[in-house]
């Protein structure tokens, strides 16, 4: 898709206006979804209608930007047509690629539209060489989005063994649970991450302020966290909550603290490891976020290619928890 030495900057677009902002801010590609369960950011009031998608693709292509359509959830039996219709639409609108996770969807796309480029979503949960090879050999996927759980040396050796391109997350909300394998939200609320494309859905969220001004965040009646008036609150995502276990007196972040990924300092290493594309997370975030983050990363990648120094700490204020992490990328000790 690009020359081996210039990685692509792949940016989120939750609305047509955000998409235009991402394009104008220097994205090489934007990714977006439809207003239904076919993508893993099926949030209320977000995403694009077919008409908006058509216009957005026109705008992006006019400006030399590619459009990737996320179809990365898992159709439950009996509802496959919603996903196959979405594949048909993506093809008819000349999308540059679709990002898939489900084997049935991948097979449908490959059989019907051999010329439609397939990217493998992080939702397919393929962190090993053999898992990736399964998808490249079965469905001819051209790019895999890697789970955020591999170190840079692991990415480097993976790149040498597989035939497709590699895309890595570099900024945004840090997902912890193995993607495509989480039914925590369904257990708590009845809506499924894998099938409905939601995670801690807003209609089950409640914010409750106590007499002492502490803020309780709840998901369908389960208390996920509690913030005193001096603490920065977060969204009640189950895996970012605080809980109790018998052998600890304190409550603690049992899974992960609300952190954002920011790999600015590892950018040169990632480029030399052979990463073909860098992905920014955040389709559900505002235009303000998109403009700030995309233009900063555009500059950072161009700077890194010129071997300059990069600092992106100014993006800290946009992150949940106002804290950032390098995740697993630097060291396995994260695990």
């Amino acid at each position: 898709m690009t020359s081996p030495h210039k990685p692509e900057l792949v940016c989120p677009a939750g609305t047509p206006a955000s998409l235009r902002v991402a394009v104008d801010s220097g994205a090489d590609a934007v990714y977006c979804g439809l207003q239904n369960a076919t993508n893993a950011r099926n949030f209320p009031g977000l995403n694009l209608t077919p008409y908006e998608l058509e216009k957005s693709i026109e705008y992006a292509h006019l400006n030399g930007t590619k459009v990737l359509i996320a179809l990365n959830t898992f159709p439950p039996a009996g509802q496959f047509s919603l996903w196959s219709d979405a594949v048909d639409l993506a093809h008819s609108l000349n999308a540059d690629a679709i990002i898939v996770a489900d084997i049935g969807v991948a097979n449908y796309a490959k059989s019907k539209y051999p010329d439609l480029r397939l990217h493998l979503s992080v939702q397919a949960g393929a962190p090993s060489i053999e898992a990736i090879k399964f998808y490249t050999e079965e469905f001819d996927v051209k790019r895999v989005v890697l789970p955020r759980i591999l170190t840079i040396p692991e990415i480097k050796s993976l790149k040498q063994e597989i035939s497709c391109e590699i895309e890595c997350f570099i900024f945004g909300n840090h997902g912890l649970m193995a993607e495509g394998r989480c039914s925590l939200t369904n257990y708590a609320t009845g809506l499924s991450t894998n099938m409905d494309g939601v995670c801690s859905p807003a209609n089950f969220v409640n914010y409750r302020v106590d007499a002492d001004q502490s803020l309780h965040t709840e998901l369908n009646g389960f208390t996920i966290d509690c913030f005193s008036c001096t603490q920065n609150p977060g969204y009640p995502t189950i895996c970012k909550g605080r809980y109790h276990v018998a052998h600890r007196e304190d409550s603690y972040y049992a899974f992960e603290e609300p952190l954002s990924l920011n790999l600015a300092s590892l950018l040169p290493d990632l480029i030399s490891a052979g990463v073909d594309a860098f992905k920014i997370e955040g389709r559900q975030r505002s235009k303000a976020y998109t403009q700030s983050v995309v233009s900063s990363w555009r500059k950072a990648i161009d700077t890194a290619l010129d071997h300059g120094a990069i600092n992106m700490d100014h993006l800290l204020s946009l992150t949940e928890g106002n804290k950032q992490t390098l995740g697993a990328y630097e060291t396995k000790r994260w695990r």
Binding site: Q79, V105, W334
Partner: protein, 309 residues
């Protein structure tokens, strides 16, 4: 109800029990239990495997001689070289069939007769058909699938002539991660975990800040706190075309649950009676069936469908 071919199965032991406890559990299953199929293997953490190595042959032998079908289950999360190698060796063994729980196992099993595990994302009929073309003849479906999807899959399975299985009892795996949450609770990481997961033979209970029972931690796996109970649904599952019923083992009461499930299969007790038996043996821990009824998973829904629906 077609009783002839309906099978009770024992899922892989998810927890880090002492090797002798596992061995004794399997011996008891072999000697006394009316189950048809036993899944063996380390599904959660590759670090645990070496502990049971020396007992494998003895256990599989005893189960086979008792007429139980033995299936080896593969790891759910395969990342590092050791895990990749483990999965490849498992897939290439020529003695027992393998149940694939991730795509790397599937990579090795393609073209050969194999099973698909419940941690593999077989959500719809198109995926099912593709997996069958690759050699899958028996698929255990993800626990979160609702009834209406099971009906469709059951019908397709009948047409394809393959078997379907669902978990009907025990805590349900809800998520996996690369990070070990057991180790984390003790301030450690996976590399220096000191096998703290052995302290919790049924998972480590995780409560909310307001004291609600919510989840359980088992190494890299997060499970429901509540116990799945689909025993009352056995007759309608059979009607749908699902003929294998998985009981996920726990450190106690598994024999009681097996007996109750067997009785439901025989038609000698009702679903309600089975529920009563299970609830009184697991005590305060609630049962749940929310996924099946397409409500919040953790809930227990009292809904008896007409078999003709």
């Amino acid at each position: 109800m077609n009783k002839g071919q309906n099978n009770l199965t024992i899922g892989p032991i998810l927890f880090h029990w002492p090797a002798e406890q596992k061995r004794d559990f399997y011996f008891k299953i072999a000697d006394e239990s009316p189950v048809d199929t036993v899944y063996i293997g380390e599904v959660v953490c590759s670090k645990r495997s070496p502990f049971f190595e020396e007992y494998y042959d003895n256990v599989t032998d005893r189960l086979t001689r008792a007429g139980k079908k033995v299936i080896l289950s593969s790891l759910s999360e395969v990342m590092v070289t050791r895990e990749r190698k483990m999965t490849e060796e498992l897939a290439q063994n020529e003695i027992y069939e393998v149940e694939a729980n991730d795509s790397s196992a599937l990579y090795h099993l393609r073209g050969r007769r194999h099973r698909i595990g419940q941690y593999y994302n077989t959500y719809n009929e198109e995926t099912l058909k593709h997996l069958v073309l690759n050699g899958a003849y028996h698929v255990t479906l993800p626990a979160e699938l609702p009834r209406e999807s099971l009906i469709v899959l059951g019908s397709v399975a009948k047409q394809l002539g393959i078997s379907l299985e669902v978990q009907i009892s025990g805590r349900v795996g809800l998520a996996f991660s690369a990070r070990c949450y057991h180790a984390r609770s003790y301030g450690r990481v996976k590399d220096n975990c000191q096998f703290v997961c052995e302290h919790d033979p049924d998972g480590m209970s995780l409560k909310t800040l307001t004291g609600q029972n919510f989840l359980c931690i088992n190494g890299i796996q997060t499970l429901s706190y509540n116990y799945l109970n689909l025993l009352p649904q056995i007759p309608e599952l059979i009607d749908m075309g699902i003929d294998n019923f998985r009981i996920s083992p726990h450190s106690s009461h598994t024999e009681i649950i097996i007996k109750a499930a067997h009785s439901v299969l025989q038609g000698s007790i009702s679903g309600e009676e089975a529920t009563s038996i299970i609830q009184s043996s697991i005590g305060d821990t609630p049962c749940f069936n929310g996924f099946y009824h397409h409500v919040a998973g953790h809930e227990w829904a009292e809904h008896n469908y007409q078999l003709s629906e």
